[in-house]
């Protein structure tokens, strides 16, 4: 909610936005999240510089600063969520918010499968290279290298899709064997919200209301 509120704050006028960005920056520093925020901002530095220059040139300095702050805030708003929340916590929140268990289970399984997908991907890559299908791309001129890679992609994606389907079937069978889709299940107890969580939620709700009133 805090990240969502920060995203919505991009609609504030310059003065209020500057105050909000200052508070947001203080929160980022206090939370020890300067590194991920800096990484996000570094990725868009060229775009920000070009936009700033164009806006300043054609419209004015105030507008250029406003757009820069808005873009920076939009890009970094969800860093708070992503850097402080594990996918397992996200899954538990989904379930608490009423998301069907099957969907939450699918999300958790997909996340846990990322490592497996990476391992299998590298395995396929090595196997195809051993068969002489995949080769180093740097030896080719850019355009023919690109065309060859398109053909190579078929040789990579086909076994990847097959392996992924096999994995999905294995998980389905394992889940069914444990009674996953059975109609009668004991509810699992997730972690409870601490008093600090309640305080933060109340603060965020207050921020939402304040933003609405200010707007």
């Amino acid at each position: 909610m805090l990240s969502l509120a920060a995203s919505l704050a991009v609609m504030l006028p310059l003065g209020k936005l500057a105050v909000f960005v200052s508070c947001f920056g203080a929160l980022v520093v206090a939370g020890g999240l300067t590194r991920p925020v800096y990484d996000h901002l570094r990725r868009i530095r060229v775009l920000v510089c070009v936009l700033f220059a164009l806006d300043w040139l054609f419209i004015g300095l105030g507008f250029a600063v406003l757009i820069t702050l808005r873009l920076g805030l939009l890009v970094t708003a969800f860093t708070l969520l992503c850097a402080t929340t594990t996918p397992e916590e996200v899954r538990q929140v989904f379930e608490r918010c009423g998301m069907p268990r099957r969907l939450a289970f699918t999300f958790a399984t997909a996340y846990r499968s990322l490592d497996l997908v990476e391992t299998e991907w590298h395995g396929i890559l090595e196997a195809q290279r051993a068969r002489g299908i995949m080769g180093p791309a740097s030896a080719d001129p850019p355009w023919s290298g690109w065309r060859r890679r398109l053909g190579d992609a078929v040789a990579l994606v086909v076994p990847a899709v097959v392996l992924v389907a096999q994995r999905a079937w294995q998980v389905t069978e394992a889940a069914a064997a444990r009674g996953f889709d059975a109609p009668v299940r004991r509810p699992s107890v997730g972690p409870r919200l601490a008093s600090l969580d309640h305080l933060l939620l109340a603060g965020t709700a207050g921020l939402f209301i304040a933003l609405y009133v200010v707007q």
Partner: protein
Amino acid sequence: MNENDRTTLAAPHYLTLFELLLLGMLGALVVFANVALRFPIRMPGHSGIVWMALLVIARVIVPKHGASSFAAVLSGVLAALMGVGDKGALNTLLSYAAAGVGVDVVCALVRAPERAAVCAAAGAVGNLAKLGVKVLLELWIGIPTGFVLLGRVYPAVTYTVFGAAGGYLGFLVLQALRRAGFFAYLAERR
């Protein structure tokens, strides 16, 4: 009504657990492929080649409305949590979701989405939807419309071309999967 009655009367789900997990795994594959499989092209939208291919594949191997959108939304959440994307998590999540919806919309309009032209069109629309999200976010934060539109003419062309190429790649992969008997394998498990 006792529990056994509930068992017999339970309505079947729109997507089976296997289909959900298959789409979830394909979502994970989308995220990984976006990070790992890079073409040596420095043009906007080129990541759509593998991306759209996988979304088209997801829609054809799970032939139900919304299959591609589900895989796309799930991959968007995963990508956002992993910090993939250069314009923030909101842009990542919405871009991934829009691409899936674009593919689904095109596939919903035709009877046989596994045809080459349909796959290419679905890929092009999906990749353009991704660009559309970027444009909308830029307009939302107040960047002048003229700047946005002028700056997006060239990307619109490249996004369309790479999206169509991705859709066609998806078609080629589906052909190879069909020859390998993959669809018979899937039919046994539904």
